[in-house]
């Protein structure tokens, strides 16, 4: 899925991911973005894999080390940390990618009213950041808060599970 044309300043772009799908597909566009300049990544579901990103950069014929230096990653393990991460995002016109935005909001040890409040705070902050740079949010389908999140985003992209490639036959039928 080509997400780069969808990213634009002032717009919140949401990629709804099939629950069984990982974030490997995102490494290629993330590599392309990092090759152009610095990017910020907030990882809500511990999905960021630097090795895969390095491989994607290497696949473009570039040395991964200087390009990886342009990727600034923050990880959050609770919805409070996610809100704090978003509040600390610099208001520079850099692309921001929020991986698995809703993962930390599924934590039932945090009361629902508090999660809802933090979710609204995060949305407000994202809207504010989007004025300075493009934002891509990824979230798994069929999770709590996906409805309100989708309603607040300007563009929604759906990712689909690709069927496994057919196994090549060892012998051709004649």
């Amino acid at each position: 899925m080509d997400i780069l044309p969808a990213l634009a300043q002032g717009r919140l772009c949401l990629a709804v991911i099939h629950p069984a799908m990982g974030h490997a597909w995102l490494m290629e566009p993330m590599a392309s973005l990092a090759e152009r300049g610095p990017i910020q990544v907030i990882d809500g579901g511990n999905h960021f894999n630097a090795y895969r990103l390095a491989k994607a950069i290497g696949g473009h014929g570039l040395d991964p080390t200087p390009v990886l230096r342009q990727v600034f990653v923050s990880r959050s393990f609770t919805c409070h940390q996610l809100a704090a991460c978003l509040s600390l995002v610099t208001s520079r016109p850099l692309p921001l990618i929020v991986l698995d935005f809703l993962a930390t909001f599924q934590d039932e040890s945090v009361p629902l009213h508090e999660r809802r409040k933090l979710f609204n705070v995060c949305l407000w902050r994202l809207r504010q950041i989007s004025r300075t740079g493009p934002i891509l949010i990824t979230a798994k389908a069929n999770t709590e808060f996906i409805g309100p999140l989708a309603e607040n985003c300007d563009q929604i992209l759906q990712t689909e599970l690709k069927p496994l490639p057919a196994t090549l036959p060892l012998f051709q039928d004649r």
């Binding site: 894999n49 630097a50 090795y51 080390t65 990653v73 990880r75």
Partner: protein
């Protein structure tokens, strides 16, 4: 709590998994040789993890070469000692 990069063992398993189709297409004897090479690379996971290079496959390939060179050196020493006798 989290890791900046996945553990080197996970990275190794991922690389090993990516070679699955290649391994499957090899002859039985070659499959055994490839398994030996991967086992050799596995012996050096700790230094590979410490190095934390962005492309871990390069480190694994170097670890395979290292073990192969050690074997060459061992055989060379053996041949030389036999020549002396």
């Amino acid at each position: 709590m989290g890791r900046t990069i996945p553990s080197i063992t996970l990275a190794f398993l991922e690389e090993q998994d990516s070679l699955k189709r290649f391994r499957r297409a090899l002859r039985k004897a070659d499959q055994q040789a490839l398994d030996d090479l991967l086992a050799a690379a596995r012996q050096h996971l700790a230094p590979a993890g410490y190095a934390a290079y962005p492309l871990p496959l390069e480190t694994f390939l170097l670890a395979m070469l290292l073990e192969e060179h050690k074997e060459v050196m061992r055989l060379r020493t053996m041949v030389e000692s036999r020549d002396r006798e």
